[in-house]
């Protein structure tokens, strides 16, 4: 096992004992990138030179010398930030996202910007303008999305951990597909300042890590009130590592039966039910509950998210930055051609869909109605959390799929039913590895908690991780020596 296969806390421990140096750590990751990036294609931009420059200074902080990757829809000053779109192919932001400033202050070393579905719209990372990212567990499969680059990078040892963003499952689903831990914090816990919006009412930045402890470490760094983000929440700052305790005794867990009904791969059902058994053996109490409005979740999500997206994508008009079409006789044509040529198909589809649902003639029937159902869902989840500490479900209905096999948008949208309720309701959720399919593809289990119950889900995930004992299984990539 190389240094680049270690978790953050393992690297920290060795660095603190001075058994290894920051240079050795960085070298290990950069060598891995050299060796496998051709196949995995996790990154849009690798910042090896900048990383080497950075470690020449004495780094301090809780992530001192830890090489991390950041999803390429998070603004980095002086480093191009593309959202994996032709539209921003050469866009170099003049400012850092708050989370990037926080990582820098904590001493982390940025290895690069990871690939995503264009503007985070998708669940496979196939809609990137630049390239498809592959699943390190099997290169014929997708790593999931939209934070597929972040997940693939961590799974392949191309970063110790990464930041992803999650609007409808974009952290948890790729984490599940790549055998990693993915945490979507409570809405408002992590500043969105500098996160290039897909749907601001649901977007949230979170960590993708090798284990739960790393997720807590990263959340400690990136969370906190930010006066630059009016939706960030002012509350007492927590030390999330304090929740790294093995204790499930008396924990009341709700299992919504509608979730199990949606699972298409029986191996997932088996794996998750086996996990429940083990939790019960540790003193947790699992009960089936009902979430009758779950069946509307994906529809509600796609109405609200695309409505917001149609407005958020409007700034890409070719006037100030990014791509501008050369073919235009006037301003209207410049707008039209720029957007026709600069956006990919899925982004255009969502812009059109969103524009439609916000239009005067359909606003009431779609947008307002969806907002009402969103309120119902929030109520439904609140009601469950009155009686239960956690809701636990499979993260996905199936394991990762083969590149190029999911081509129907609706098919892909429906898959999101597992993850979107968390974004619609603003609650925190974490996905962690639960087992492997017969094809040796990872299976994820999703733990949801009540609003601001981030500590609670970290504790449950940490405990579950310990009892599942999946070990440090890593994908076996044929590494070019």
């Amino acid at each position: 096992m190389d240094l680049c296969d270690l978790s953050i806390h393992e690297l920290k421990a060795q660095l603190e004992k001075e058994e290894i140096t920051v240079e050795e750590v960085l070298d290990s990751f950069l060598q891995r990138i050299d060796a496998v990036e051709d196949k995995v294609k996790a990154y849009v931009t690798v910042t090896g030179t900048e990383a080497r420059e950075r470690i020449r200074a004495e780094l301090e902080g809780s992530l001192a010398g830890i090489p991390l990757a950041v999803k390429d829809n998070i603004s980095t000053e002086g480093i191009r930030t593309t959202c994996s779109s032709k539209m921003l192919e050469n866009y170099i932001p003049p400012y850092n996202a708050t989370v990037v400033d926080k990582l820098n202050e904590a001493g982390a070393v940025l290895l690069g910007k990871t690939n995503l579905d264009e503007f985070a719209m998708g669940g496979s990372s196939e809609s990137s303008y630049f390239h498809e990212t592959r699943n390190p567990w099997n290169l014929e499969y997708v790593p999931g999305g939209s934070s597929g680059g972040s997940a693939a990078a961590v799974a392949a040892g191309e970063a110790a951990a990464a930041l992803g963003t999650d609007t409808g499952g974009s952290i948890r689903q790729p984490a599940a597909f790549c055998g990693l831990v993915g945490l979507k914090p409570t809405y408002g816990t992590v500043s969105r300042y500098g996160l290039m919006a897909y749907a601001g009412s649901m977007d949230q930045i979170g960590p993708i890590t090798r284990d739960v402890e790393d997720a807590a470490l990263l959340l400690n760094v990136i969370s906190g009130y930010d006066p630059k983000d009016s939706t960030s929440v002012k509350r007492e700052e927590l030390d999330y590592t304090a929740f790294l305790q093995e204790d499930l005794a008396g924990m009341k867990v709700a299992l919504p039966r509608e979730y199990l009904d949606l699972v298409s791969n029986p191996e997932i059902k088996e794996s998750v039910l086996a996990a429940f058994k083990k939790m019960e053996a540790e003193g947790a109490k699992v009960e089936e509950v009902s979430l009758p409005h779950l069946k509307y979740a994906a529809a509600v999500y796609y109405i609200l998210a695309t409505g917001e997206a149609s407005s958020n994508m409007a700034c890409y008009d070719g006037v100030r930055y990014g791509f501008r079409s050369k073919e235009a006789a006037n301003v209207a044509e410049m707008f039209g051609n720029t957007r026709s040529e600069g956006f990919g198909e899925e982004v255009k589809r969502r812009i059109l869909f969103g524009t439609y649902v916000l239009s005067a003639n359909s606003y009431e029937a779609y947008y307002v109605k969806a907002q009402k159902v969103r309120t119902l869902l929030i109520k439904e989840f609140e009601d469950i959390f009155k009686n239960y500490d956690l809701i636990i479900t499979p993260t996905t209905g199936d394991t990762a799929f083969k590149v190029g096999t999911v081509t129907e948008p609706l098919e892909s949208y429906k898959m999101d039913t597992f993850t979107v309720p968390v974004n619609l309701t603003g609650i925190p959720a974490i996905s962690l590895p639960c087992g492997f399919s017969s094809k040796n593809l990872p299976i994820g289990i999703q733990i949801m908690g009540p609003q601001f119950g981030d500590g609670k889900i970290i504790q449950a995930a940490y405990s579950l991780e310990k009892i599942l004992k999946l070990g440090n299984k890593r994908p076996e990539l044929e590494v070019a020596q």
């Binding site: 829809n73 603004s75 009412s201 009016s230 917001e308």
Partner: protein, 482 residues
């Protein structure tokens, strides 16, 4: 045959708020900077940036609401108004759609039939857009440049009820609104710099008909006069359409100031669908009672209140009080004078007369006037003491106004002290009587006007320095004793 029509007008006024920084970022709002000097990632709408509401903007919007007799809503929210234009960096404007900060207010205007109340439907907050500069004329320009300095400058939009019935009332409403906004200091209301803009909705209906006629929206009026003229034109145009058996089309029309007419811009069908929806980046705005009370406590006296107080406290005619309270600086100047000199009417006469005349001639703002209010008071005291005549006072006043010097100093330097020495005056009076026998005869025959002529002659001899009261008395005594 021409029918009688009733005119229905509603006005939408955009006023830039006089805050130091923009509505959603820290950039300066100062006018006249180099293009794009006052910009940052937020007001340029760079990907990933987020708006943070400037609380001062809310203060000012509440203040405007209170001054315009509105209800201040405890809950209001921000929405996005989506449209593409190069001067709009995010391609949406953050505004307030269905839950504005203020609603249900009114303004009182003076009309020939007396005081009339014009309802205010709502006041909402929003951000301004940037400015396009075309290289060459707009239709032939090969390139356009964008200046985003104005982007994000806070605006309030004040929407009236359709209570206005004549173009003149529309102008009176605007004048009154501008006066109030200036008084409370929330906007400098400078139409030339674009800090006050007005759109008008106008329709006509046969007298007695309850339903409104089809309205047109008028844009591009750059002065109150233009608003009045555009409305006058549009009303006549609509009448003509109806009388010729046609129908008024709901549309937006632009006022062409040089052609003196409104021109169709776009029809209802072509109107943009702004796809308003709640801005997910800004939580709803909660304004509690304490906030409103804090603003209420800081609300200055409003023009009408001040006018009434001037009549009551200084026993001034309504007219004087109206002129003096036209602007807050003028009213303040007047009150500063009255604090030093108690004859308010005398002060009022000087301010309404020579002061405003010189202000106009010199093209000055009151804040730029060099003459201290106390000096006007001291000049009036010099008149009371008989040191200078009212005629001399005019000279002293003008000198004070232009130089800011003390009145005593001016009198001394220019040798303007009034001649109140009886023997000296008698000498001159006798000379005048001798030189003007026919006027003297007229006085004797009871023609009072002739005495004025003789006083004038004495003044001429003394270059205005003679004490006019004494001259009058001496003249009468001498003529009677002839």
């Amino acid at each position: 045959m021409s029918r009688e029509y009733e005119i229905v007008i509603g006005l939408e006024v955009h006023a830039q708020l006089a805050t130091e920084s923009k509505i959603f970022c820290n950039c300066s709002t100062q006018f006249g900077a180099e293009p794009n000097q006052h910009t940052c990632p937020i007001c340029l709408g760079l990907p990933g940036t987020l708006p943070v509401l400037n609380k001062k903007v809310v203060d000012y919007a509440i203040m405007a609401g209170l001054a315009l007799n509105c209800t201040i809503n405890g809950y209001s929210k921000f929405d996005r108004k989506n449209y593409f234009y190069p001067d709009l960096p995010k391609a949406y404007q953050i505004s307030q759609n269905d839950f504005p900060i203020c609603s249900d207010g009114f303004i009182e205007i003076d009309t020939e039939e007396g005081v009339k109340r014009i309802g205010i439907n709502r006041i909402h907050m929003e951000e301004d857009a940037g400015k396009l500069v075309h290289e060459g004329s707009i239709d032939q320009a090969t390139a356009s440049l964008v200046d985003y300095n104005r982007t994000g400058i806070p605006l309030i939009e004040i929407v009236s009820e359709p209570d206005i019935r004549t173009p003149a009332e529309a102008r009176a409403y605007l004048t009154q609104l501008k006066q109030i906004l200036e008084y409370i200091g929330v906007s400098d209301c400078n139409m030339e710099e674009g800090s006050l803009r007005c759109d008008a909705n106008v329709s006509i209906r046969p007298l007695g008909q309850k339903e409104f006629g089809t309205k047109t929206e008028l844009k591009n009026m750059n002065s109150f006069r233009a608003v009045e003229r555009a409305l006058e034109y549009e009303v006549e145009r609509q009448k003509k359409v109806l009388e010729e058996g046609g129908e008024v089309i709901q549309e937006t029309r632009t006022w062409d100031d040089s052609l003196n007419k409104t021109i169709s811009m776009r029809s209802k069908e072509e109107a943009a669908d702004y796809r308003y929806f709640p801005d997910p980046d800004l939580p709803p705005l909660q304004v509690d009672k304490e906030w409103v009370e804090r603003i209420l406590a800081s609300l200055p006296e409003l023009p009408r209140e001040k006018q009434e107080r001037f009549v009551r406290e200084y026993a001034l005619p309504e007219y004087d009080a109206g002129v003096l309270t036209d602007s807050r600086p003028l009213a303040d100047y007047f009150e500063a004078c009255v604090a030093e000199y108690s004859d308010a009417k005398a002060v009022s006469n000087w301010i309404m007369g020579d002061f405003l005349r010189l202000l106009r001639e010199e093209n000055l703002e009151i804040e730029e006037v060099k003459m201290a209010p106390a000096n006007l008071a001291r000049m009036l005291q010099l008149m009371d003491k008989g040191v200078i005549s009212s005629k001399i006072a005019k000279t002293v006043f003008e000198e004070m106004f232009k130089t800011g010097k003390d009145p005593e100093k001016i009198v001394e330097e220019k040798g303007l002290v009034q001649i109140s020495d009886a023997s000296q005056l008698e000498e001159i009076v006798l000379k005048v009587i001798e030189a003007n026998p026919s006027a003297v005869e007229d006085v004797k025959n009871g023609k009072d006007r002739a005495i004025g002529f003789l006083v004038g002659q004495v003044m001429k001899e003394t270059r205005g320095k003679a004490n006019p009261g004494m001259v009058n008395q001496i003249l009468k005594d001498k003529i009677n004793s002839l």
